[in-house]
Amino acid sequence: MRGATRTGRGRTSRRRAVATFTAALALAPAVAACGSGGGGVTTINVYYAPEQNFQKVVDQCNAKAAGRYRIVLNTLPRDADGQREQMVRRLAAGDTEMDVLGLDVTWVSEFAEAGWVTEWTGENKAEAERGTLAGPLETARWKDKLYAAPKNTNVQLLWYRDDLVQQPPRTWDEMLAAAKQLKDAGKPSQVLATGAQYEGLVVLYNTIVASAGGQILSEDGGRAVMDAGAVEGLRVLRDFATSGVASPSLTNSKEGEVQRGFEAGAAAFELNWPFVYAAMQKGNPELAPHFKWARIPGVTPDVPGKATIGGYDLAVSSYSQHQDEAFETALCLRSAESQKFSAINDGVPPTIESVYAEPEMAEAYPMRDMILEELKDPAVRPLTPAYQSASTIMSKVLSPPGAIDPQATAERLRRELQDAIESKGVVP
């Protein structure tokens, strides 16, 4: 009897709990709507990779919006794959809560082809193109239409020690020869580059191929070309890996390892992004005064090296319900003023040429002239909607660089890349 009463009471309270839960469920959308509506003010959701002081840029743009809309910064995961996956998954489901998207320069064609980002036209387009460097702008286009506004760019430089090397080498052959001489003389001689199986290896290879005047994919991204220059690029990469002056941990080196290796003092050269300049001042102050930069080495002496462009572009989601405000937000976040702030505080090189001439830039970017020189004659990674697959295959096939057989590897790349851009093959 007592047992029955207890069960009865239990049932009532459970029913009450269910009722409460149902009510909560029913109310949830209303509460959520309140949150995003902000009492009538439009919210513009920006999704961007972690950048320490980006919130301040957002705050400034919020001040400019003067209450017409409110920009909310949503920080994406730190790794590029994580960023892309989150956006892709939500866009594929038609999520209307994303407005402005921070895209790595290699994703624009993919998002554009899939119809996830809106084309830039008219006044917005003119504003995004005004004063913007041609190289970064090319990464924001797909099929002759503009789909994003370049926010920041990046290029690798050749960094060397001027206490070991008097004249920076112009080509890979010169650099390897100089390194071998240093090695014979028993001095620090290693050449460091990003040779691990990841995007950095693709960047390295793309830089060499572009410098050799070669092409990996056709201009429209529809065909795997792998021409003579691309084969030559494979030879240069293999010769570097087997030269004896590459670091023993080449196949394990990403940007961070490369920089730490240089700071340790066994190397004479490294190919790396400009962040290493500030890192060197902190990591090895004794070596820092001898830490100099030059243009990325070429393949032939008469053609200077072309560096691969990195960086981020801002795009507006096709599913955004506030297109006009989203475009305005994107333009504000990448305005000359914002770019200058980010360049100085977060170390990301600007895409607007005039920003480089600002006096404050001199201290943070002593190498800005060289960055600008490379940006005006750059290498763009192959533009194709299937870049993600193409890149995975390239880093896989090129690993380890010492095992490359130029002709055979080129043939394999051509076959597998063709399958990848037709979305037929298997991605490893």
């Binding site: 996956e85 892709v88 993919e110 899939a114 199986q197 299937a386 995975t392 490893p428």
Partner: protein
């Protein structure tokens, strides 16, 4: 019997019931119902109709939540369907299967998965048995011993994987520092696979032990005492008395773990993300389906995994029905 072992005993019973269902193909509640089929009385028929009606809602829900996704995957696997090229969707028949089955990447991943499965399940069985015996025989602090042994199983796999990952990170990880200052074991193939196996084993041995302990509970003490009286050594008692009696429990534990191990994903995703040919088939499916947005090829891979898992289960269940004494009531009669 403690709550934990009771729980796992139910698990075992449930699993062998499922196994019987799969094997027999009919959902008869007991073995005798099958034989009594032709002579059903009116009352029995009505009872049976009611039973079916009562089952119907559950069956419908099952079809909706498991049947439909499987059918949809099969349908997707027959198409060229890539989210990056939404306009080029078309029916391609078995092309995707030819692509995947002729890809060296797929077979590499398949080999890695099979290797990881066999090695980790064998290790788990040996260690799990030892742990089960310890937990079963403990006299003092029983609850404490069992709780402590079960801690790894209670930790979310991704969290555990991250703690392994950081432990093996050169420079900051304590395990990496034990091995040497400049070694990055996770970037070399065989050491990375060994680390993945150890993470798997550490994580799931308690689960194995739990299932085996339920089996141990089935071994009558009298039998062991009698064997001891007859002069059987401890090892003989273990191999000649305990293992045969426990066999159904061991097989269920092996089946569960093999199916789980074959679908390994989280540990690899966190520890190596599949670099240096350490990707499992699930990892590769993820790369093609979620990262590559290729719904056609990705679905083909998930269908192939589904088929493989079904084959493993089928083989195990066959082994069950024939070789395990006392595993099936019908088999004993």
């Amino acid at each position: 019997m403690s709550e934990a072992s009771q729980l796992s005993a139910e698990n075992v019973a449930g699993a062998s019931a499922t196994a019987r269902g799969v094997r027999g193909g009919s959902a008869g509640s007991t073995g005798s119902a099958r034989r009594a089929k032709p002579v059903l009385s009116e009352g029995k028929k009505a009872e049976r109709r009611l039973g079916l009606l009562l089952c119907a809602p559950a069956a419908l829900v099952m079809i909706a939540v498991t049947g439909w996704p499987i059918i949809y995957s099969v349908w997707l696997s027959l198409q060229r369907f890539d989210l990056r090229f939404p306009d080029q969707r078309e029916f391609v028949g078995l092309d995707n299967y030819i692509t995947v089955l002729s890809s060296p990447y797929w077979w590499t991943a398949f080999g890695v998965t099979a290797l990881l499965t066999v090695v980790s399940v064998v290790l788990e069985l040996v260690l799990g048995m030892a742990l089960a015996l310890i937990m079963h025989r403990t006299i003092v602090g029983r609850g404490l011993v069992r709780t402590v042994a079960l801690i790894p199983y209670g930790i979310v796999t991704v969290v555990a994987a991250f703690s392994w990952y950081y432990a093996w990170t050169p420079g900051t990880g304590y395990l990496a520092n034990l091995v040497g200052p400049d070694t990055a074991l996770l970037t070399e193939r065989l050491p990375a696979l060994a680390i993945i196996v150890s993470a798997e084993v550490w994580k799931t041995t308690p689960f194995m032990a739990l299932l085996l302990m339920a089996g141990l509970a089935l071994v009558p003490d009298d039998l062991l005492k009698a064997a001891a009286m007859d002069g059987a050594s401890a090892w003989q008692r273990f191999t000649r008395v305990m293992v045969p009696v426990m066999k159904p429990a061991i097989l269920v534990a092996l089946l569960f773990r093999t199916l789980d191990a074959f679908r390994i994903f989280d540990n690899i995703f966190v520890l190596t993300s599949g670099a240096q040919d350490t990707a499992s088939v699930s990892m590769q499916t993820y790369n093609n389906l979620i990262k590559g947005l290729n719904l056609g090829v990705g679905s083909t891979m998930s269908v192939l995994i589904f088929i493989t898992v079904a084959i493993i289960a089928f083989v195990f269940v066959k082994v069950f029905g024939t070789a395990a004494p006392g595993s099936d009531q019908g088999g004993r009669r």
